[in-house]
Amino acid sequence: MYGTSPRGSQRTLLLSLILTAALGIVVTSVLAAELVPPRPLPSKSVGGTLNLAYFREVSSPDGFQANGSFDRMYFYAGNEVLVAMGKDGLYDPSESLAYAYDVLDDGKRYRFHLRKGVQFQGDYGEMTAADVAWSLNRIHRPDMGSRWSNVFRAMDRAEEVDKYTVDVYLKELDVNLITRMFNRESIVHSRKHWEAVGGHEQHKLHPIGTGPYQLVDWKVGVGTEWVKHPQYWRGEPMMDRVNIRVITENRARLAALQTGEVQVAWLQAEQVLEAQKDPNIKVWSVSGVGWDGWAWALGLPPLDDIRLRRALVKAVDRDALNKSVYLNTMRASQSHTFAPESPYGIDGAELWQGDWLKYDPAAAKKLVHEVAKERGLKLPIELKGVCERRPDRQLVCEFLQAAWDEIDVKLNFNVVSNANERLQVMEQCQTHVNQTGGLMHAPYLMEGALQSTGENSYSSFLCKDKGHKLNPSDLQVQADIDRLLDLATRQPSMDKAVDIYKQVQMLALKNVWQYIPAMLRVNYYGCHIATAGGCEENPMRGDGHIRPGDFWVKK
């Protein structure tokens, strides 16, 4: 004992705790993030029914349980995320349930400030921190319908701090937490309703969220019907009803738009030119929401030779590919995973247009012959591939086949029905080239494909036990990419991580690594000018989709 009794020590401790808590409250209230006002809806309530058309069925109108990449068109009618993505692909507080967030404890804790007065649909009351914490904690509960535990592996738990504040604790640093939350994983639902309907199975059919419209009917293969949520926090929704119809046939969907029976419709590439010619239709597009290209099996000879990989890229005239297969609805990529204009994008023009990767069939052929001679391979070099049975994708494979034929490389590809089957073939680790593509709204998406432990990195990870071996220099590249991706993830803020993500992309492009994002995807929507309000300004968000609450029917 050093002059202080245990009781005195306890008192001091208690006092300091109280003082710290009081100080915390004062500091929090002084420094509390400034309330960003909600973005008002583009028009006052006009009533009536809005019809939208999409090309495929939704897997569930409950966004949290929907598992398709293209389900956003539907579930954003009624579901909202804690942190929403804006048109620039970054956090947009004015459309988010959390108007601000703070990064605390050196990036191990995120504090979200919630809007007051946000009401759930169907009189399920005000959204509070308890609902938000409960919604976020579902991520690690497959028994609650979550499919996303893996994506949020760094997240430990969410805790309610007070009625309008939630803390998210991380097990390890993850600079991508916010961008991961842009998607369905941070959708907030009413816990009261979830429990009232008896859990995730019924909630999948009857979700209650905070969005502008509440689901009233879901008829599989036909569409979903929504009615307005009169207490919506951004103002009274413009329409009384919204129907989101499934029109799988592309030409029929365009016809529905041309007749004004639907006001807004997703357009497939082959319909874009015709839609653009129609004076009644305004076509919007967002570029760089994904890429199309092909992936390599780096450890499967002879693709372990970077010269051959370069030769295969150099043999492809991407402008011709765009014209002949995609009807000029894509862009030849000059970057890597992200478009150059994206906050995360690189300018890779030097590589794409310089000797390294530039379209030059003569130089490509020379490289192929060089590799064949050195490695004692018979010409033409035979490669196996896999391709999806979709008109554009099958044509891409045929295009590659023809282009590579010119440089003495023979591609034999199998055609499979869908992406799942393609992945199953890729997991057999017997194919050299695999037609593929990806979405690219956030850097964490690179982890799955580029990191050696990435679940989609079939070449380095899945195939390592199936005879694939990286050569020493490629092993070094993989080690560098792994290190950089780890480093980026552990940055306290995205500002600091962006440069590292750019380094990764440059490294991958230079080494023709894992996948070739040859073309940048462009998403298209059409708006019927005579009947639809909201056609003037491109309303597409950074994820390449619209939000059903943005439109109304003109009287």
């Binding site: 069925e57 897997s59 569930s60 598992n67 398709g68 990449s69 497959p142 499919r147 996303w148 535990s149 893996n150 994506v151 998607n183 199975e201 999948k204 059919l205 879901w218 008829k219 599989v220 293969g221 036909v222 119809r245 499934v246 029109i247 799988t248 046939e249 030409r251 029929a252 016809a255 529905a256 041309q258 007749t259 029976e261 499979v416 029905s417 869908n418 992406a419 799942n420 089957e421 992945l423 199953q424 990806g438 979405l439 709204h441 964490y444 998406l445 982890e447 799955g448 494909a449 990435g454 679940e455 989609n456």
Partner: protein
């Protein structure tokens, strides 16, 4: 007769069992896997192996195939058709709901096809080798040759997009409460689906009528001074229609089972499109039940054709 019908009815049971076995096994031979779809290969391209195993077990797809089959069949017999893997909705009400529409479309197309086919076939036979005959024959060949898909799309472009007279597709009408709207929505799909049947029946009617018109009793009727229209309607038609009725009855089942292209082009809520969508999604239970229901539909319509045949031709006895 009664014994024959009972035997014919009971024969449907082994057929159904065979169909169920074929459907069940073929689906499982497909390379894709519904669990992978449900496990959510999303933006990150990731599949969590634990989640995969959990879903597989929840759906009972980790059990031996014979157990899965037995469980499905016992469910069907006991009235539990199960839930869609994809949506979690009960399969039974979904199929019944769509079947209601498909039956409406099938019957409308059938009625249209029978009326058009028999009328044109009769005109063609009476005016043999005339311009009308050539025109009707050309229609018949085109009706059989033109794909439903192309015809449907052309009709949409002309009547919906260019003229704006009819909706492009979709269906939200009730025959009894809004017959006008119902007709507007059903007109183009009925035309597309019924044209093929009309063409077949036209050829059949023409051939049968021409054959009958050469019979002695037709000559007798004419000799007695019976007006030509009554010769055709009362004497020739009655006897020539027997094979036409048989074919038309058999075609009803085919129509109901073959609506998928029309339903897809016109975005109609029918069972054909529902099953095809389910095949794409590998939603096993929906496909199994949908195909089973369609098979039952075809078998019942064939059964009805048998009964009708015996009724129309009293010379036919099965006992």
């Amino acid at each position: 007769m009664r014994k024959y019908l009972l035997r014919r009815f009971l024969n449907m049971i082994p057929t159904l069992i065979l169909v169920s076995l074929i459907v069940f096994s073929l689906l499982r031979l497909l390379p894709s896997d519904p669990v992978r779809i449900l496990a959510g290969i999303d933006d990150s391209g990731a599949i969590d192996p634990a989640l995969y195993a959990r879903i597989k077990s929840e759906l009972g797809l980790d059990r031996p195939l014979i157990v899965q089959y037995a469980s499905w069949v016992s469910g069907v017999v006991s009235g539990d058709w199960g839930k869609s893997y994809l949506t979690g909705m009960q399969v039974f009400p979904q199929i019944v709901d769509r079947l209601k529409f498909t039956v409406q479309l099938g019957v409308a197309a059938w009625v249209f096809g029978v009326i058009l086919g028999v009328s044109l076939g009769t005109v063609s036979a009476i005016k043999r080798n005339s311009a009308a005959d050539i025109a009707v024959t050309t229609f018949a060949i085109s009706g059989v040759a033109i794909p439903h898909f192309w015809l449907g799309m052309m009709l949409i472009i002309v009547f919906a997009v260019w003229l704006g007279w009819l909706p492009f597709g979709g269906f939200n009408a009730n025959l009894f409460s809004s017959p006008g709207l119902w007709l507007k929505h059903m007109l183009l799909p009925t035309l597309v689906l019924g044209t093929g049947l009309a063409a077949i029946l036209m050829r059949q009617t023409r051939a049968a009528l021409l054959e009958v018109m050469r019979e002695q009793y037709i000559l007798t009727a004419r000799s007695k001074g019976v007006e030509e229209k009554w010769v055709v309607l009362r004497h020739a038609m009655k006897n020539s229609l027997l094979p036409v009725v048989t074919i038309a009855s058999l075609q009803l089942g085919t129509l109901i089972g073959g609506t998928v292209v029309t339903e897809t082009v016109f975005t109609l809520p029918g069972v054909g499109k529902f099953v095809v969508d389910a095949v794409i999604q590998r939603d096993y239970l929906v496909v199994q039940m949908g195909l089973l229901v369609l098979t039952i539909g075809v078998m019942l319509s064939n059964f009805a054709a048998d009964i009708l045949y015996t009724y129309l031709d009293p010379r036919i006895r099965y006992d």
